[in-house]
């Protein structure tokens, strides 16, 4: 049986003819998926792309798609114990070949947009272009990435650490609104969790983590494009029902370079990013766990002064007591701070911004 063929548009035929110096012929399925893999993956990892290509929506399969062929779709599950894991959805028939063929006009239009984005992205990543005659062409401004870390003790500008109410035996309301009795601005390992006691309906510990970042060296005229808040986690626990999550919130400690007990009450309840479920947090003491900031979070990154964020359990943020279970915890039970030696595990915020002089934008009709 001859292979199934695509029927490319005139532009594709022309490109194919130019490249291979042969007659314009339809392209074989396998070759087509190979040639268009980058744009296909870019499309497949969007909500619209998932819908268009009949893939599971991101609400059901949040993993990134790393390979798409006419009958295979691979999802990247992550890294554990130094090994990478994927899940592959394989079909006997050429499901995605058939879907793309039947929705060719829509798919082709979407791929055109994603090709343009990929080409622009590559252009911006190029250090510089050297022309054939030796002249150097510098790319236009845009897409600058600045990563900021809190200072270790002795702090210069920013601090990180946890503030907790520990070794108590009291209700959720009291432990949440009480006075902190353990503050670790200079601890190498800290926490952000809720722990229950053995006494029914009572809790033993509640910790909140605070981290400050200094982006004030960036010119205030820059445009903030996106940001992620990232931490490494050593151990976690998820002992309550409903299952736990960790929120990213703003903080307002009394000092930028130290933490005190009163800062326990200086944690906001407005979420600066979607909560991260404890189940989705990688606790291998190596991998960074990222909260992608929403518009509110991005607004709270200051280019003139210190930006102040922190973590608390979603039970704590939402003031929603979980179903009490004896002697369990939920949240981040151990995480490294900027106090650790080396530079690979410090909490960080990654801000992508662009100089206001000229920001390229592509409008595709």
């Amino acid at each position: 049986m001859p292979p199934k063929l695509y029927y490319p548009n005139a532009d594709e035929l022309r490109a194919y003819t130019l490249r291979f110096h042969g007659p314009p012929v339809p392209v074989k399925e396998g070759l087509w998926f190979q040639q268009h893999q980058a744009a296909l993956l870019s499309l497949a990892n969007t909500d619209y792309g998932r819908d268009l290509l009949c893939l599971d929506p991101r609400s059901q399969r949040p993993e990134t798609i790393t390979r798409l062929t006419k009958n295979l779709c691979s999802y990247y599950l992550g890294q554990q114990n130094g090994r990478h894991y994927w899940a592959t959805d394989g079909r006997v028939g050429a499901k995605w070949g058939n879907v793309i063929r039947s929705r060719w006009l829509e798919v082709n239009a979407a791929l055109e947009q994603h090709r343009a984005r990929l080409y622009l992205g590559r252009l911006l990543k190029l250090p510089r272009l050297r022309l054939a005659d030796g002249r150097v062409l510098w790319p236009v401004a845009g897409g600058i990435t600045t990563t900021a870390f809190p200072d270790p003790d002795p702090e210069t500008t920013t601090v990180d650490g946890d503030i907790g109410r520990n070794s108590v035996n009291e209700s959720f309301a009291l432990i949440r609104s009480g006075v902190a009795n353990l503050v670790r601005p200079s601890g190498t390992l800290v926490a952000s969790h809720l722990g229950s006691n053995v006494t029914s309906s009572n809790y033993f510990a509640m910790f909140r983590f605070c981290a400050l970042f200094d982006f004030s060296a960036i010119e205030d005229i820059n445009t903030k494009e996106s940001a992620t808040y990232e931490i490494v986690v050593q151990t976690k626990a998820d002992g309550f029902a409903p299952a736990g999550s960790v929120s990213l919130v703003t903080t307002t400690p009394a000092s930028n370079t130290d933490l005190v007990a009163g800062d326990y009450a200086q944690f906001g309840t407005t979420k600066q990013a979607d909560d991260k479920t404890v189940a989705s947090i990688t606790a291998d003491n190596v991998t960074y766990n990222a909260w992608t900031m929403n518009a509110t979070g991005l607004t709270n990154i200051s280019l003139t002064t210190v930006s102040k964020f922190g973590n608390r359990t979603a039970y704590d943020t939402d003031n929603a007591e979980p179903t009490w279970t004896s002697d369990v915890s939920s949240g981040i039970t151990v995480m490294p701070t900027a106090e650790t030696t080396g530079t690979g595990k410090d909490p960080k915020t990654v801000l992508i911004h662009s100089a206001a002089t000229f920001v390229p934008r592509v409008t595709i009709f």
Partner: protein
């Protein structure tokens, strides 16, 4: 006496330039009581490197760092900065 650095800020420009601001400290390995992490929070002796004093800020950019420098290249360059100190020993993680 030992010395180490911590990166405070790293910027990757769209033209490939990398700017790094690092802070250099002096300290030593000491044993002090710290709250335990077993949930009780009781003080236990912990032996580790502790910074005692901020020394200086180091800013690296072109030509200290190559275009599109990798994090390994940045670390090597910062390790070289620590070696310039003749009175202090770099911590083992940053030799």
């Amino acid at each position: 006496m030992q010395t180490d650095y911590k990166v405070a800020r790293m910027t990757r420009h769209d033209d490939g330039r990398v700017e790094v601001v690092a802070r250099v400290y002096e300290g030593d390995v000491t044993t002090e009581l710290e709250p335990s992490l077993d949930g009780r929070g009781l003080p236990v002796p912990v032996t580790r490197y502790r910074r005692t004093r901020f020394l200086r800020t180091v800013t690296l950019s072109l030509p200290d760092l190559p275009l599109a420098a990798t994090e390994a290249q940045v670390r090597r360059r910062l390790n070289d900065e620590l070696k310039k100190d003749t009175t202090r020993t770099p911590i083992v993680e940053q030799v």
